[in-house]
């Protein structure tokens, strides 16, 4: 084994050096950064989001490596219906059995897709899972006690968006957009060579997953908490004064806040007086599907071009759907 020399550890200290540049360029203009109150607000927000996501990411990583090690490749393909419509229906309703937050969803789906889950099914599951489940439904109903129709509309729109996007991907995307494509079937022999048998393999793979997802997650948490610390929310709200502006504002808001799908309804409910209910619907459907945190994670899963195609599809379909439904709300 190669020895650790201090000089080899040096690159690990480099990130600290990266920080010097923004500090030197920014600080003269943002003296409030030195204000302790901002620093502590940032820390509390940042660690809070990270700790909140951690159990879900770990659960996702463990579940995904359990599937990776113990479930044979053919089993996954056998469970998923072959025809498109039943397959998409299956994917959209999978969240009812697997009520996992979006942070845990991505490592899990990545594994399932490597095991042969088709792209359209995987994406439909990623999009619908965090919303279409009993926990989120109950939370939304509680937050909008006076407007229960919003909770139903949220479930309906999430289902429709996931289904339509799955269908579009089925038609338009033919080659694998996964960032890493490894030949299937190569994993089985590989695990047998691992020290400590299958259980050790589960934890080792979970750790690898954790590091791969974690860097995107931490970066997402970092940006989110910076925004929460320095942006005054009411100043943003004035942008959304016009009818269509309110939709775009609430969608942008959902994107930058990166809330958990079980708690975003409560935040959205605070805007009930000042924003049309259609825009709140867009807020609650877009947020779990696409926000800073999980956009980063989706970028780790898919090639950049495909990821942006997916972001565009999500944003445009949620926007259209929310406007169409606003007549009914």
């Amino acid at each position: 084994m190669a020895a650790f020399s201090p000089i080899k550890m040096l690159p690990l200290l480099l990130p600290a050096a990266f920080l010097i540049i923004p500090v030197v360029l920014w600080l003269p203009y943002h003296l409030e950064l030195l204000d302790n109150a901002y620093l502590y607000t940032f820390k509390t927000g940042f660690i809070g989001i990270l700790l909140e996501a951690l159990p879900f990411v770990l659960a996702g990583a463990l579940l995904s490596s359990l599937i990776g090690v113990f479930v044979p490749d053919e089993a996954i393909t056998r469970w998923i219906p072959r025809r498109v419509f039943p397959a998409l229906l299956f994917a959209c309703l999978l969240g009812v059995i697997f009520p996992i937050c979006e942070c845990g969803m991505i490592p899990l789906v990545r594994r399932l897709m490597r095991k042969g889950m088709p792209l359209h099914v995987g994406v439909a599951f990623i999009l619908s899972g965090p919303i279409l489940n009993p926990i989120v439904f109950t939370a939304t109903l509680t937050a909008f006690r006076s407007h229960p129709s919003l909770a139903y509309a949220r479930m309906g729109l999430a289902f429709a968006v996931a289904f339509i996007i799955g269908l579009i991907l089925y038609i338009t995307v033919k080659s694998s957009p996964l960032r890493l494509s490894i030949p299937r079937g190569g994993e089985a022999e590989h695990h047998d060579g691992m020290r400590g048998g299958k259980l050790a393999a589960v934890f080792t793979h979970a750790a690898d997953d954790f590091f791969e997802m974690g860097k995107y997650l931490i970066f997402g948490c970092l940006l989110t908490s910076l925004i929460q610390t320095f942006v005054v929310q009411s100043s943003l709200a004035s942008i959304g004064a016009r009818p269509l502006g309110s939709y775009l504002f609430m969608m942008g808001f959902a994107f930058i806040l990166s809330l958990c799908s079980t708690s975003d309804a409560f935040v959205g409910a605070a805007f009930l007086h000042s924003f049309p209910s259609g825009s709140l619907l867009a807020f609650m459907v877009l947020g779990p599907m696409l926000d800073f945190k999980n956009a980063m994670m989706l970028l780790s899963l898919f090639k950049t071009r495909f990821a942006f195609y997916l972001f565009f599809l999500i944003a445009s379909i949620v926007f259209t759907g929310a406007i169409l439904l606003s007549g009914w709300l």
Binding site: M1, A2, F4, P11, L12, L13, L14, P15, F18, D35, A37, T41, K43, T44, G45, F46, I47, G48, I49, L50, L51, E52, L54, P55, L58, T142, R145, S146, P148, I182, H190, M194, R195, G196, A200, F203, T204, A206, A207, D209, F210, F211, E212, I218, F219, C221, Q228, T229, V232, Q233, S234, L257, S258, C260, T262, S263, D264, V267, A270, H273
Partner: protein
Amino acid sequence: MNNYGSIQRHYVFRAAVLLTFAVYIEHLSRQDALHYYVTPGLAFWVKLCPIPLSFMALGLAAQALFGRGSAICDCGHQLPRSRARSAAIYGTFLFPLLLGFALPDRALGSAAAANKGVSLTFSTDRPKEAAKFQTDDPFAAEFSALARKLYTQPVIPVYPQIFSETLGALDMYKHDFKDKEIVVSGFLYREDSASSGGRFVVSRFLVQCCTADATPLGILVNAERQKSLPADTWIKIRGKLQVVVYKGKETLQIDAESVTPLNQPSTPYVYTSSDSVEEWNELQTAAK
């Protein structure tokens, strides 16, 4: 392709990072500091995290130290190719740990409240019925039941366990609660606007899941004699409820008879209660 030795080094380092995360969480839960970041319900799951984290660290360390060369390969997992990339990636993981260990844990306060905007009014549709504390809306039934209980009190206590529900019930029937006496505690928050006119807000953060969704709730306080206390001081207010127009909205205000500084409570945030009326009954029996 990474060579064997470099993969070993990565695995050893990753094991150390995972272990440090486990130690940090354990440290937070030993210090009873997790409640600064997540709700008690979620804290239960966060407390369990050190277990898988340690096993994962153990797995990685075992592979690095005793694994056969053929067993370690990058099976679809990317290991960073260059030193600069490794530095950036591991720096990302070390940053929260550094921040966590270096800075003391502190609850959100006025700085965050100013960004988020303190909610002083809650109910959208005010019940118009003539009868006191009656509502046809099944979703408002809990609030009106709580309001009936609150109304019978000579001095209305605002328990932290049902803080948001109590404020919601008071706000819903604000005209009925006019001139009632109330005791409430929270941190002192000053709005910058000119309309506050020397008044301040006694506020607490309602947390649903984690600090990202923390929403400050509060009641306006008019205290003629007490204007010198700095923001973020924890205070206990005793006074009479009034309805005033603030920023164009009918808002509850306490005309304070006394303002007493407090130590920060061990749990600075408040959480929602699944059944506030039940909780109220329990708190009342416990108080007796």
